[in-house]
């Protein structure tokens, strides 16, 4: 079902002549509308990029200067001295990679239990997983914080990794995918003498690469962009993520518009790269979560 997304939309079965009349006008109108709207959606990015190459006093001008008269590339060199951006980027990377690895590994392992092994209590347990997806995190973040405080893990990366790595979403997404894999495959492997763990590792995992990629990308982006978690748990400057570090910079130097935009652009670049490399998996992953 979701594979359809990668192909261009269906061509309606009209005769060539009728498309050449009403169809062309419709197509031009469709294109124009799409281009205008997409450009409108992209304006904030254009403004961010253009401001990041200006001087502070050139950011707010009347009328707006979309292309700076003089490109200040120095902003991109100076920002590293102004804030410890490398540390922040590194911290974001550590958190995102650890959370993603743990989530994908334990999530797909648990999903196999939920989708392919039949045992009493399984469905009740799965319901508990699903139910917590609907509970807003805010509803239980205080008890979570108390637990972390008792464990002495507040203000460590480990607290955030533990909090975010065992989410129910990964289990849910992988189970949805495993259900689409026919049971005959695992039956056949069972007859060949493979254990359940062998079936998971040698049959199911290789088949679920696209779903694993989807889950990995969604988890990575969500962890990278998370604000509330690091905001609550990390107080030491040298543990901060890019999001927290950038926000703190904005708070301290709120008139350095150009520099703020430079930092924003840099914080977006890693995620943009990840997104562009794997965007088809993103789209699939989101689509899978919506189709039951």
């Amino acid at each position: 079902m979701t594979a359809l997304l990668d192909t261009p939309a269906r061509v309606t079965g009209r005769t060539p002549r009728s498309t050449s009349r009403g169809g062309t006008a419709g197509k031009v109108a469709g294109y124009t509308l799409l281009i205008v709207l997409s450009l409108a959606v992209m304006i904030p990015f254009a403004w961010m990029l253009s401001s990041s190459l200006k001087q502070n006093n050139q950011v707010f001008t009347v009328p707006i200067q979309w292309i700076p008269t003089e490109l200040r590339w120095e902003n991109y060199a100076e920002i590293w001295d102004r804030i410890p951006l490398w540390t922040y980027l590194g911290n974001s990377m550590i958190l995102s990679v650890s959370v993603t690895a743990l989530q994908v590994l334990t999530g797909s392992f648990a999903a196999y239990g939920f989708a392919k092994v039949r045992f009493p209590g399984r469905d009740a347990l799965f319901l508990a997983y699903i139910a917590t997806i609907a509970v807003p995190w805010q509803a239980y973040m205080v008890p979570q914080y108390i637990i972390m405080q008792k464990l002495g893990l507040v203000d460590t990366h480990l607290s955030l990794i533990l909090l975010q790595a065992f989410g129910a979403f990964g289990v849910f997404l992988m189970r949805q995918f495993y259900l689409t894999i026919p049971d005959e495959l695992s039956e056949a492997a069972r007859l060949d003498g493979l254990s359940e763990y062998g079936i998971w590792a040698r049959v199911i995992l290789p088949l679920s690469k696209p779903a694993l990629a989807s889950l990995a990308l969604l988890t990575f982006v969500n962890t990278w962009n998370d604000y509330m978690g690091p905001f609550i748990y990390l107080t030491s400057n040298d543990l901060w993520t890019v999001q927290i570090g950038l926000r703190a910079f904005v708070g301290l130097y709120d008139a350095e518009y150009a520099m703020i935009m430079t930092g924003s652009v840099i914080s977006v670049v890693p995620i943009l790269t990840v997104f562009l490399l794997g965007q088809r998996y993103f789209v699939r992953g989101i689509a899978t979560s919506g189709l039951k």
Binding site: L37, I43, V62, F109, G113, F119, Q279, F282
Partner: protein
Amino acid sequence: MTVLTSTARKRRRTTLIGWSFILPNFIGFAALTLVPVVAALALSFMEWDSYSSPEWVGLANFERMWNNANFWVALKNTCFYALGHIPLTLVAALGFAMLLNRPLRGVGLFRTALFFPYVTSLVAVAVVWNMLFSPDLGPINQFLRAIGIDNPPGWTTSSDWSMAAVVLTSVWRDMGYYMVLYLAGLQTIPPELYEAAKVDGAGAWARFRNITLPSLRPTTFFVVIMLTISSFKVFDLVQVMTEGGPGRSTLVLSQLIFREGITQGRFGYSSAISMVLFVIVLLVTLIQFRIQQRSER
């Protein structure tokens, strides 16, 4: 010890194997999600701060909440945000999905562009929009003046308009995500339905109303529930864009829970507020379920 029959032994073995798959995830899930969820419920009936030991106080926390102006302001603001965010995002997402679900060259490029705000760093989004909304020289108000609006709103600096600014930003950020869900839904509609309707002389609007919308009902159901959950727990964007201000004009429930529970250390009272948040989300979701069930019959 009784002798197990071979089927019973086999069943026990399967159960053990099943659990062994789930366990690595379940340990973390149980300790850090399941237990806290139950604890939050219990805490909401207790008086507990970082210095004292927990004490059962019945409904005292809820009573205090009822008489607290901050709570009502936050509740009102959260509802206002949800009422703006849910329908606007839904319409924008559906509109873009309809536009993209056509045989046009380069559709993938547009899809990427429209999805991009969703993956962009939250702080970058908040910071850029804050500047775009800047009252005197910001691009948005320059544009509004150029089209003849002499007194454009003060956006994030005005307590009347700050929530509108947050809503607009959040719609811009989230619509791409739901657009992808709608695109997936649109592609499951068999083209024959449209062909048949065209033969019967149904116009574009009639086809949209009688085929597209009903066929998308399961998607819309899912989208509305996801939007509801995410609207009521909004925090990040508000915290970075306005910090709940100016005044209390954008204070939302999550921020109140954060301030009371983690900044002030009033664990019991903040848990009571979070129960209210949970019950609201649950009620809206249940109502959605009922509507969905009724329309299926």
